[in-house]
């Protein structure tokens, strides 16, 4: 068992356990912190795939900025175990059914993906995740979608300012 395999299984276990804990924690602050752990584990996977830029951007943007804002909201509203509203039983059943449908769809998709069987991920090789290649791909092959998505972000920002001014 090579060292990359050990790291891979460790990160996988960490990601799954943390993701479960996000759902199982009663306290919303704990949920957010477990979600940060999930992002860390996924960043580790990106590094194993030699996608260092993706890994670090995942950490800066998701773990470092978005989750801090989540924490902000939760702390400002002072949500806690006691004050969290309890859903009634029908809501819980409806949630379980719809979540189960989604899970079944995912499993069906994985089973259908026949061209992926017997293949393993490219560990430590491949260079598309490096910043230079990613930048070249984004600004030459995909320049139009990239710029359109930036306009989308701009409109979201303007929208936030407009709502804030009201």
């Amino acid at each position: 068992m090579a060292i990359t395999h050990i790291i891979f299984w460790f990160l996988t276990a960490l990601a799954l356990v943390s993701a479960l804990m996000v759902l199982l924690s009663k306290n919303p602050v704990y949920s957010v912190l477990w979600l940060v752990a999930v992002f860390f584990a996924i960043s580790g996977h990106y590094i194993l795939l030699n996608a260092q830029f993706l890994a670090i951007v995942n950490m800066i943007v998701y773990a470092g900025a978005i989750m801090v804002l989540f924490l902000f909201v939760i702390m400002l509203m002072n949500l806690d175990k006691e004050t969290e509203p309890q859903k009634d039983i029908w809501m819980k059943i409806a949630g379980a059914v719809s979540g189960g449908c989604l899970l079944m769809m995912f499993i069906a998709l994985v089973k259908q993906a026949t061209e992926m069987t017997g293949k393993t991920a490219l560990l430590k090789t491949g260079s598309i995740g490096l910043i230079e290649n990613l930048g070249k791909a984004l600004f030459s092959d995909y320049v139009v979608p990239f710029e359109i998505s930036s306009v989308l972000f701009l409109s979201a920002m303007v929208g936030a300012v407009v709502i804030g001014k009201k």
Partner: protein, 351 residues
Amino acid sequence: MTILALDWFLLIEKLILIAVIIFASLGVALYTTFAERKVAAILQDRPGPNRAGPFGLLQPLADGLKLITKEEIIPTHANKWLFILGPGLAMTAALMTCAVVPWGGTIDVMGHKVDLQIADINIGILYVFAVVSMGVYGVMIGGWASNNKFSLMAALRGASQAISYELAMGLSLIALLMITGSLSLRTIVEQQVGHVWNIVYQPVGFLIFFICALAECNRTPFDLPEAENELNFGYHQEYSSMKLGFYLFSEYINMFISSTIMATMFFGGYDLPFVTSHLTNPGTAAIVGIVVLMTKVVMFIFLFMWIRWTIPRFRYDQLMDLGWKKMIPLALANMLVTGFFILLKQNNWHF
């Protein structure tokens, strides 16, 4: 020597490097607290700490002993685990940044080439950003877990300040990275050795970066998370003993590391102009490099302290105005101007 597909020499080399650099950072932070009190004393025309040891040199050890022997209090309604996790996270995040800083050139140890740097990754400066943004969690978790209004307010202030100034900091660095064309800190330093330092190309970028570094380290004039007259003592109000020590200490380590980053990015790192490129013996070059880098760092730390004991604190709305309405537009303009000149240079200075 390869067991378990591992290069054990590399592993041991890196472990030793990590230990040395962490203890050096802690030692520097220890004596930074002493220097801070001495600088404050000089600026306020008084002798400062002078009782423990010659010239008061043992004062930081006495302070540490005092912190360790104090009673450890966890408030009754505090969230116990997060209360302990907070200072630990703050300290870890502060120490993790030093992994990508090149402290000197390459030396020879028993026929192996050893870089005086823990990890030369090709996303070096982004790694620093990621770790710095993790540091916010230490403040937020500590402030929230204390179950105290003042701590919570201070933690929210600290986090929003850090996020606001990270933006301007990143934008000021983009202009620099457009010139260097690399994110690896070692490459950035090597480009400056024997050439002009980056500060010449990016004076405005450096100014923005420096101001943002002050804000990120919660130093005066941006020490609003610790504003005593508004928030009692800030986010670490409920902390005592070594947990408080960790928070205070991580601030000094952050100051040390941000000084190192500034010296590396803008002031040539371990480069001594006209000398480093002529040193042929790698051993001498490494020693000269470390001494030169440390001198630059000490000068930056002194600048931090000078500012702290000279300039009064901002008001909160002024802080946010400065960050969002002045720093970010200035950094964007700096980026545009830099891009314009790079294009002009590629076109051989013709329009």
